[in-house]
Each structure stands twice: as C-alpha cells, then as structure tokens.
Amino acid sequence: MSYLEYTVKTVPSGLRKIFYVNWPLALLLTAVASVGFLMLYSVAGGSFNPWAEPQMKRFALGMVAMFVIGMVPIWFWRNLSGVAYAGTLVLLIFVEFFGTVGMGAQRWIDIGFMRLQPSELMKIALVMLLAAYYDWLPTRKVSHPLWVLVPVLMILVPTYLVLKQPDLGTAVLLMAGGGAVMFLAGVHWGYFAVVIGAAIGLVATVFQSRGTSWQLIKDYQFRRIDTFLDPSNDPLGAGYHITQSKIALGSGGWAGRGYMQGTQSRLNFLPEKHTDFIFTTLAEEFGFVGGASLLILYALILLFCISSAMANKDRYSSLLIFGVTTTFFLFFAVNMSMVMGLAPVVGVPLPLVSYGGSAMIVLLAAFGLVQSAHIHRPR
C-alpha cells in the first residue's frame, strides 16, 4: 500500500474517527437539505406528503451512507475506483437496453426502494477513477499526449452513453467534472484551450446540422436552445418553463411573499416545481434574501471542501474531494443558471434540495468519500 509512504500512525481508528469527521460540512449539508424539506412542504400546499416526508427519509438514509462510507479508510475506496467505474459503465450499458425511460429522457433501473440512475453514479465513479489514475500516474507524464488520451476516453465513453439516453445535462456535468479533475491534476493548459476551441467548433457544427439528414441532436433539444435564446418565442410551449420560472423568481422581490404564500408555485404555474424548479419557489417565497442565503450555504460547503482538499497531502484524496466538490458546484450552478434564464433548460436538479431519490443518496455517498478522505488524511 503506497499510502504507507505517509505516516498512518496518526490516522484515527475505531470510534475515535467520529471526532475527526468534517462536522461543519455535515452540518451544512443538513442545513441545505432542510431548506429542501421546507420548500417541499410548501409546494405540497403545507403537507409532508407527497414530497417532504420521503425526501427526509432518503436524506436520513443518505446521511447514514455518508457516515458509513466516511468511516471506511480512503485507500479502500481508492482501490475500488476502477471497479466502481467499470461496474457503473456496465449498468449504464445495461439501462441502454433494459432501462425504463421516464420523462422522455433519463433511464433508470427500479431496484425496489428507489429508482437508480446509473448516470448519477457515474458522475462520482468517474471522479474516483480519474483521481486514482492521476494518483497512479507519475506527474511528469501527466501532460504526455498518450497519457492524456486515456482519461479523455474515460470521460468520453460514459458521456457518449449518457448523451444517447438522451440526458444533455448529465453529459455536460460529466465532461465538466472530469475536465476539472484533469485540470487539477496538472494537465497542460494547451489541451484545455484546444478542447474549448473544439467545443465552440462543435456547437457551431451542431447548429449547422439542424434540419439536415445528419442532425446531431434532437429537435426538442434545438427547441430548448431556441427558447432559451428567446423565451418569448413560444411563451406557452417550450418557452413556458423559462418564462414562468423567471416570473416566479422575479416576483419574489427583496424579501419574498412569505412562506407558503408563493402564488406562482402554489397555483401550478411553475413546471416541475418540486424538482428542477424548486429554487424558484424558494426565491418567490423568501425573495432575494432567501435565495442569497442558500447560495451562501452552498458557498460554505464549497469552502470547507476546497480547504479540506488543499490541506490534504494525499494526491488521490485531494483530487477526489475537489472533483466531488466541483461536480456539486456544477449541479447547483447549472440549475440556478437554468431557473434564472442564464442557461437552457437541461434538467439538472438543485443538489440536496430538489425532490429526487437517487441524486440525493448518490450525492451524500460522494460526500461520504469526502469525509473518508478528510478523516484518513495523512498527518
């Protein structure tokens, strides 16, 4: 175990680990999740059903998972990275053929108590694998083209599968999350410049392909982009989501309409009010003050995670923590941009707040890895 090159003696063991848990992080996660319960209670018209109560149960389950994962030494998880990635990839291929399609996009497998979306798992598995890869790779080889190609393939294979589902939001998150880990690992600037340049080229090509026989993305995806660029185009059709979301958010004002007083969400003008658009309810009912507070909570989570990553002398641990953190950041950044009309509607939930089983549990499990890395950091 290469980990032994650091002193393991100082790593806490047994129940003493409890004292080394990143408690502020756990507390912040609970705070954000509580905001979610509050909002789910409100959008259900002042009822724990049908959303708030199941969400609380799942959060409890997720917290347990987080602590259990956190207690397990990080090197165990590192050694498992390859297996986790391979297993998730198999699941992803499996759902491609046998999964159930809901809402016209994401595919999931029903595993009894919840619906498992392998694409959710992949976000974490990919970060784990990339962190392990760069932990293993001697640093001077990091920018060698051949050694750059390997992680690029690791990112592109699941991205392709997710894009096929089709789930544009998750695909973007995978690419950006993976890219962030590569960036942190020290891959040469030039590669990122090329990729960003190529991405711009690709976007141009995609737009070129519209209406031709080789059209690269689906019509509804084009329409979403259109309505993002000009929601007034189609205020009752595809632009409805964006327009209504902006109305609800904007009408919140400085201090909001008050808890459970949001007319837009209560009267169902908001689409997906309990999932992807839950932030608009918060913003309508608690106004700028409420929205900014949530943003600050998220910022604090990022702060604690990033400082934990910086302080960690283990390369795998720091890459993993930063990777998970960046994925988390991407989640809420994309979601908020979406509801504020800054990004097209791509179907990314607000982490820990939106109603949704697998996203919440997977995310808390990922924070379990962050906890493990934090507890078992070399001292």
Partner: protein, 650 residues
C-alpha cells in the same frame, strides 16, 4: 493498482501545482456564484415590480357572467319569451373516479341519449379532468331530482342549472318574436367588433324576428368575476364579482288572446291576418298561418322537422303578414277612389257607366260582373266592387296620383317594424317602370293598377294600416313594442292624414255599404248590432288568368283549379263604423273569393278584437248564429286551456 514509488520532489511540485490550479478553479467557482447572486439581485430587486405584475396577470382571470336575456310580454303582461331554468347533468372526470361505472349507474336512473353520450365521452378525453362535461341537456326536473337524491352513489355527477329561452305560447308568436339560437361562426363574422359575450360557447342570440331585431336591447351587459386560477385554468377562488345587467324587458302591443284566436281561426289555410288599433296604430294581432314552434329551433331543430317545415307548400316559415306581398285586388279601390276625390275629378254623385267591360287601346278589360253594373257613383262602385268605374277613374287621374295616395295610406312604404324581412310592397309609377322594367308606362297598366292588380303589391300589414288610416283619418304608424323596461314607447303618426274629411267619409260610407247593404259584397258577413257596425272591402286577386284552353276544358271557377293557382282572397274592415277602434286585413292565399272566404274571417277577428274574447251571438244575423256558435265552440277547444283561462280572468 500498484503505484511505482514516488519521487518526493515530484510530489512536491505536483502538490504546488494542485494548490495553484485549485485556487484558480475555486476562484472561478466563486466568481460564477457572484454572477448568480448579481443576476438574482437584478431580477428580484431591480425588476421585481415588472415580474410581480406578470405574476398577477398569470394568476387573475376574468370570467364573464352571462346576463339574463330580456323577456318579452304581450300587452297584458303575459310572457311570450321567457328564460326558464334548463337543467343539465354534468360529470367531472377527476371526481368521478371510475367514469364508466358512474355512467352505467346514471343510465339506470336517467335516460341518456347514446349519441350525446358518445360526444360527451369524446369531449372528456380532450379536456382537463376538472372541467364539467355535459352528459345530458334539457333534463326534466324529475330526472334532476333523481340524480340529486342518488348523489352519494354518483361521484362527480352534478345537476346544473342555466337559463334557456322558452316560448310558452309556441306557434302563436313564431313569426313576430322569432327565436334565439347558439352563436354561430357565421354570426360572429357578420358582426363588427362582437361583444365578448358572444364568445361564450352556446351563448344564445336572436336569430330571427324581434329576438334578432332587438338583440342589442334584449342581450343585456355581461357581468364579470375575477377569479384566481392555476396554470391549467382551474378556478381556485373568486376574488370579486360584478353582476351583469339583464337585458331590457319588452312589452308588445299584441294581445296574446287575439293572436291565439287569429292562428286558430286561420286554421290550416295559408293565410295572414293583421289587427291594427285605429287610435294608436298598435298592432293588436299579427298572425301568419301555418306557424311553427320556435322552441324547436332553440333546442336545435332536427333535420326531419326542418324538412317538414321547408317542404310544406303552405310555407310555415314565411312571415306572411309583413314579408308576403300580394296584389291587393279590389281592396285597393278605396285608394283609387280617394285619389279621384282629392284630385277633384269626381264628386260624390259623379257616375260612370259600366257595360261589363272597357276597351282601352284595343284591349278589352272586363268587369267581374259580365253583365255590367250600369250607372254607378263612388259608393255604389265600392259597394258592388265595380271594376269599370275604377278603370274609367284611373284613366282620368293617371297612375301618379293613385300611387301618391297609396303612399299616403301606407302602401309601398317601408314601415319601421322590428320584425324580420319587412317588405316594402310596390306602388308603381311611370318613373319606376322606366327604371326597373325599361319600358314606358301604358294606359293599360293604370287600368290594371286601378283594381289592385298588375304591378301593385302590398303586405297584409300594410292593408290593415291603410284601413286604419282611412277609418281614423290619421297618419298612424304601426307600433309593435308598447314599452321597453316599462317605458312607454311613443305613438307615432297621431296626426291628420291631410285628406279632406268629407272624402274620407264618402269612402267609409262605401265600405259601410259593402258590409251592410244588401247589394254589398260583404253583406254575407255583416254584423247586425246597432252600435257595432262593420265597414269593409273585399278583394280577390288573380294569381293568373284562367286560360282560354282551360275555359274550353270546362274550368270556369277557382274551385276547379289546383290550389296553388287559385285566386288570393282578401278582406279589409274596420269596426265599429261610428267610432272605429280596430282595423283588420285578412289575406287567404289561394283562398278563392274575398267575400266568401276572407270576409267571415275578417269579421270574426274584428269582433274578437273588439270584445276581447268571443263576442255575443246576438250581433250576428239570426240565421248565422248556430254556425257561429258551433265555430266558437270548435275554436275554443283548439286553443290551449291556459289561454282560455287567462281570458276568463281578464
């Protein structure tokens, strides 16, 4: 995953790089969050007002409340057109649960039309689950109560009540009041800037008759309620309500009893009868037979019923009183006589000789009496309806004077009546013929016009008005609407006609002789009461001549001809002679002779109007009483009991 041993220097550089890159990435994240915060501030603080407004608009919806349509009453205040509650049974899908099961249970209680049901189920699939769908329309109160009693077993089923137009007197006012029907796209296209109300599905508007002509007054103004709705349009609560303004109630000049009597008396004839009040010009009765039940049209008439109406050769849909124009025949002779007197061409004692015919520019015009009347003055000519007298007179005074007199008496003039298709009739002049026919007026045209044939056309309403004007000497205008919302409408034309009273008296005398002189053409339909004397004039207008070929084949009288080629029978009268109260015109299409067919009807109608019910038998000549009594009895039985009841109360 075994890792090769690590160079400590390597580790140090990579850690340094990680820190740098981590700070860059963290900084980017912080920067983006700052951007999100700014965007949020911009939307929620700077633009809050604008979004608030949009949110209100989203939430508040204005729903129209249809006003109650104005009702129509007769001159006694008896409803002719009213709004009656129309019950319908509706279902709300989301409340019903198992729709099929609930409908099956409902079927056991209430008869459901399978076609209607199929339509309802199709509609249910299309519309939102919380919207009520009509399962059965125009349900009886009994069925409604059955549904109400069984409400617990019928979740989602609600009996609803709305207002629908109803015409309790059915056929009697079909041609006067017309009917309403749901707004059609065609209606909407015709109307510039349509009332929002018309956008309400199945909103009823006037289609024909008074309902259509007085639509603006009858409709009323829409009320509105502001409701809070959710995204799919479900009403969450009512915020405020402003009641609409009900339409104006109309009271007609018509007496429903008289109207009913007219329809019954005309019976199966294709005929029209109009009664005008000689003091005010009020239309007391204006009936066209056969009629139809306007309620059929409100409900939406079936194809079979509609075909029955259109294929009937007696044209039940036509409003013969104002829309139908007929050659007035000899009833026109008063006009010619008055024109002669006013022009000074004749005096009371001027006579013409009638040899039974008159030759005018090589054409022989016959008098109806082949043997001729000999020497006659105006009174005699009217009494015996001598044609030659009026031929001679018309040739002397010319068509223009006749036409002018006709116009003054209300013929050939469009009267402003709120009924459908009010015809102007036709009083020809030389200019008219040149313009329309492109031919010069010929003397023979004047001769034809003098006996109300040729180009002359008048509606029964115009003939009744003419008679009322002669009887009263006033320039009366017909009035159909007595009051609107209790405000009495002005009586128009209560001014002298401007015709020498002596001349009018002479003509009336001639009409008196028609009905009371043994030689008069209306003597058979006289009234013997000293206080109530009839004065009238018969008319028989040819639809076409009996051809020479027919005459050879033995056709000499109307009875031998097919119905639709027989002469029209006309009669006009007024009563009482000494103080005229009512004027009547009767036209029986293809009825045969005016004095034999139309005169008795005109007499009965006039008496009914005067007595406001069945007149006493002793006003009739003794020999007729038995027949009249039997007729009164028969007609009473034909009329709906509620009308005879109302009559007995009055």
């Amino acid at each position: 995953m075994a890792r090769p041993p690590r160079n400590p220097r390597d580790t140090a550089t990579s850690k340094g790089k990680f820190t740098r890159r981590g700070l860059i990435l963290g900084g980017m994240q912080a920067g983006f969050m700052g951007l999100l915060a700014l965007r949020m501030r911009y939307m929620q603080v700077d633009q809050a007002d604008q979004f608030r407004l949009l949110a209100e608009e989203n939430r508040i919806n204005i729903r129209l409340i249809p006003p109650a349509r104005g009702e129509i009453f007769d001159r006694m205040g008896v409803p002719i057109a009213s709004n009656e509650p129309a019950y319908r049974i509706t279902i709300v899908r989301e409340d019903a649960g198992d729709v099929d099961e609930v409908i099956a249970r409902l079927k056991e209680l209430v008869p459901l039309d399978p076609a209607e049901l199929e339509r309802a189920l199709a509609e249910m699939k299309r519309s939102a689950p919380f919207l009520p769908i009509t399962l059965a329309d125009r349900v009886t109160w009994e069925d409604v109560s059955k549904v109400a009693v069984n409400a617990p077993a019928l979740p989602g089923i609600t009996p609803e009540v709305g207002l629908s137009r109803s015409y309790p007197l059915k056929e009697d006012f079909a041609h006067v009041v017309g009917y309403v029907g749901p707004v059609s796209d065609y209606d909407l296209e015709r109307i510039e800037d349509p009332d929002q109300l018309l956008r309400i599905p199945r909103f009823q508007i006037g289609k024909v008759g008074l309902e259509s002509k007085m639509e603006d007054q009858l409709r009323g103004k829409a009320g509105a309620r502001r409701v809070e709705v959710n995204a799919v349009g479900r009403v969450m609560r009512e915020l405020s309500r402003r009641e609409g303004e009900a339409g104006a109630n109309l009271q007609l000049s018509i007496d429903h009893r008289l109207q009913n009597y007219i329809l019954a008396r005309l019976g199966n004839e294709s005929a029209a009868a109009v009664v005008v009040d000689c003091k005010t010009g009020d239309l007391l009765g204006i009936g066209s037979a056969p009629a139809f039940d306007p309620n059929l049209f409100v409900r939406g008439i079936s194809v079979a019923d509609y075909r029955t109406l259109t294929e009937n050769d007696h044209r039940p849909l036509a409003s013969k009183t104002v829309q139908g124009t007929y050659p007035p025949g000899s009833t026109f002779k008063m006009v010619v006589g008055l024109a002669g007197l006013e022009s000074g061409e004749i005096g009371p004692e001027s006579t013409f000789y009638c040899p039974g015919h008159l030759d005018v520019s090589g054409r022989r015009f016959h008098c109806w009496k082949r043997g001729g009347h000999g020497h006659l003055n105006l009174e005699g000519a009217l009494r015996e309806s001598c044609d030659v007298y009026f031929y001679e007179l018309a040739m002397r005074i010319g068509i223009e004077k006749i036409s002018d007199m006709a116009n003054r008496l209300g013929l050939g003039v469009r009267h402003d009546l709120p009924m459908s298709a009010v015809a102007q009739g036709l009083m020809p002049t030389k200019a008219w013929k040149r313009e329309v026919r492109g031919e010069e007026w010929r003397i023979g045209d004047s001769v034809n016009a003098s006996i109300g044939q040729g180009y002359v056309l008048a509606s029964p309403m115009q003939l009744a008005l003419m008679t009322a004007r002669i009887a009263s000497g006033k320039s009366l205008e017909p009035r159909l609407i007595k009051s609107i919302n209790g405000v009495e409408q002005p009586v128009l034309g209560d001014v002298p006609l401007g015709i020498n009273e002596n001349h009018l008296r002479l003509v009336r005398k001639g009409m008196y002789a028609v009905s009371n002189d043994r030689r008069g053409t209306g003597y058979g339909s006289r009234i013997i009461s000293e206080t109530i004397r009839l004065a009238g004039k018969s008319g028989t207008s040819q639809v076409r001549n009996i051809t020479a070929a027919e005459r050879r084949a033995g056709v000499t009288s109307n009875a031998d001809l097919p119905w639709n080629r027989r002469d029209h029978a006309l009669f006009v009268n007024f009563a009482p002679f000494n103080d005229p109260k009512v004027a009547v015109a009767v036209v029986v299409e293809h009825g045969g002779g005016g004095s034999s067919v139309a005169a008795p009807i005109a007499r009965d109608v006039a008496m009914q109007a005067l007595f406001e019910g069945d007149p006493p038998l002793d006003i009739y000549p003794a020999k007729d009483r038995e027949k009249i009594s039997a007729q009164q009895e028969r007609l009473r039985e034909m009329r709906p009991p509620e009308i005879t009841e109302r009559k007995s109360r009055a």
